[in-house]
Symmetry: C2
Subunit: 412 residues, 2 copies
């Protein structure tokens, strides 16, 4: 992709209302633009990152045997009256024609439960798991922290349906493993911890996935032995690790990057959703829900992977694999060399962003590359002669390589 | 994909409120489920079709050099006050915290115009085109015709920005061509016509793309010579072809499957969005918008490509390329043969849906395959012995082929 033709404008300064590092750097780097507090536009560069995160999540959900579908934002309010969630402060109300009352879904239990009721009748139809990647709407009193806590935000939500708690247990554990695979692929695995949280009426615990981060709005208490944590609700009741009893838990700030929750029969009973067993006896379906927000994950990555110059994207989610910066492009030989390197890399099927702009200074271009944060930077200039200067965004040293060496490096 | 493990339930009867062929067949086939009037869930099979349509559109928009981005559904009402669209009956109002007034975007001019204003300053930044594939919300008094006219529906909307009407013209024509490429790829090209419609204050005409269909809610008047049409607004003023003057126009029912519209400076002036020319003089930016709804295209395809047994998907958008139906699977040899054919086709990277269910009769399975409408049906049964029965959904005759011939056919 030629940067001169790409719709991206970076900025040296962040908008006054950017209240967090992720809002500042993502806005300055041309990834997002705030529409209003808690609502963001994803610009082309930002959509590339968001899509890569969504695809990693999608692959791991599909590997679990879950089926992707798509539910609407708009739903009749009656569905929320059935579950008693119609008076939640964070539920957005929408007025339809002829006094019809709608809401914007804040999660999708009220949609998926009656929907599965039309498709699941007997034990032979269970277990089944479905998920979607869609936007949620929450009337937050105070939206904050950039794309970490929004009024409209992207969410992967999965729902699983089972004949019994025991049947649910096996799947619930597999989802835990799938979530850690996702965090590993997002380069968050080594600082993300399974965290015990309140379980509601159907189980002792639910589970959060908390990523250590100094600016996180949550506090967790970590057991170094078991590498699990408890959240601040749980620590009030039991000041010890739920797995080994260790009482020396360490307090950390963290960002909640996922949660999984046994719903039990809370929603199936509200909608009278039951299945028949081998003897034709009816039982309420046992449910669980599993959330993981791609846009929040994107904000978390920026909070963790940045320096004073800009973002440092992990490879799996970077908008491009390579940022080729052309300097002295008004010199014919240099321009030819830079375009040649660009073509060679493109032929290898590697995503390369080529700063071919003629109206930006070398200093601007290099600062721009640091801000955008693509993992590998290549510079072609008069000074590099027939070589290419190679620098990783997360390292200080540079190397000079031949074109052939560069091609081998990027296609490795 | 094994049908026994897939989340799809077909039905012999349509729900009472299914008011159109597309609602009936898409619901019966397990593609969609109505949430409320004008709002649909896309089930796994339906999401596969919708995604294929979206990707065809995406490829042709990218080929135009347009940049994909993603705008929100929720927007501050002030933006619509600036353009005078805040009192439209079909605009959904949403109440925020502390008396904040939001709306759900019915199109995105009020979002994209101020957004581009932050990125476009001079003639050097123009022309530029951006698009998104996102849901729109319209408070329709009467939602109808299944997924053809909804309250929440999927839309590709592109916006282009230019220094002058003349500069816009060239791009506008390229978009016309791109739209016809899309309709060709959707197998709608031969019955879709460029249709002259009212242009608003900035040009004599806008353009609709109308697909001939007896149940369409629009009426168009077609010139057989030029293969263009005029819509019913235009025919009141001029009873002739705008291209050749032909007065013998033929009346047809049609579905509007796209529209492109010169916005001129209507929105740029509302937001005071101007660019500076070579002499540093400021001018309002000239804009156009280009809509094409993937979910409406999906409904249109069903209205056109079906028979009394079910849907007949065109190959490019079919949920799977091949429907393999296993019959007599309780006979070991037959089951082995069917699974062998399934594996051979999968190895070729072809999407195959394998009806491996043991609790459905042969009649049910064949009726089910006709309803779902995958283009190529393969049957393996006792009767086919070591051969496979091959039938195209849009043809009556069947052939017996060897496994090797089948593999060659599906991977051609």
């Amino acid at each position: 992709m030629l940067q001169s033709k790409y719709f991206v404008k970076t900025s040296k300064t962040a908008p006054a209302d950017a209240d967090s590092v992720n809002a500042q750097l993502l806005t300055r780097g041309g990834f997002v633009a705030q529409q209003m507090a808690g609502v963001y536009n994803f610009l082309p560069l930002g959509l590339r990152v968001l899509t890569k995160i969504q695809n990693i999540i999608r692959e791991e959900m599909n590997a679990l045997g879950a089926h992707e579908m798509l539910m609407p934002a708009l739903t009749q309010k009656e569905a929320y009256e059935a579950t008693g969630r119609d008076n939640l402060d964070i539920l957005f109300n929408v007025q339809g024609q002829n006094d019809a009352q709608y809401v914007l879904n804040l999660s999708h239990e009220e949609v998926i439960t009656p929907l599965m009721q039309k498709h699941v009748f007997s034990y032979r139809d269970l277990p089944v798991a479905v998920y979607q990647i869609q936007n949620k709407f929450r009337n937050e009193p105070r939206a904050k922290s950039g794309i970490l806590r929004g009024r409209e935000f992207n969410m992967k939500d999965m729902y699983s349906f089972h004949t019994s708690e025991k049947n649910l247990d096996g799947f619930y554990d597999k989802v835990k493993q799938a979530y850690f695979k996702i965090y590993d692929r997002l380069h968050l695995g080594d600082r993300t911890f399974l965290t015990y949280a309140s379980g509601g009426s159907f189980s002792k615990y639910s589970h959060e996935f908390q990523t250590l981060c100094d600016v996180g709005e949550d506090t967790i208490h970590l057991c170094d032995k078991c590498r699990v944590a408890v959240n601040k609700e749980i620590i009030k009741e039991q000041k010890q690790c739920p797995e080994c009893g260790n009482e020396k838990l360490k307090e950390h700030r963290a960002i909640e990057v996922g949660n999984i929750f046994r719903l039990g029969t809370r929603f199936s009973e509200a909608f009278d959703f039951s299945y028949t067993d081998e003897n034709d006896d009816a039982h309420p379906v046992v449910m669980a829900s599993y959330g993981l927000g791609p846009s929040r994950a994107m904000g978390t990555l920026v909070e963790i992977f940045h320096d004073d110059k800009g973002i440092i994207w992990p490879e799996n989610v970077a908008p491009f694999a390579v940022h080729l910066v052309g300097i002295d492009l008004d010199t014919k030989d240099v321009a030819q060399h830079a375009h040649n390197v660009y073509n060679l890399i493109q032929k290898k099927g590697v995503d390369v962003f080529f700063d071919d702009r003629e109206d930006a200074s070398p200093g601007e271009k290099l600062a721009n590359a640091d801000l955008i944060g693509i993992p590998l930077r290549l510079v072609v200039s008069k000074r590099t002669k027939d070589k290419v200067e190679v620098k990783r965004r997360d390292q200080k040293d540079t190397n000079l390589m031949s074109d052939a060496e560069v091609v081998r490096l990027v296609s490795a």
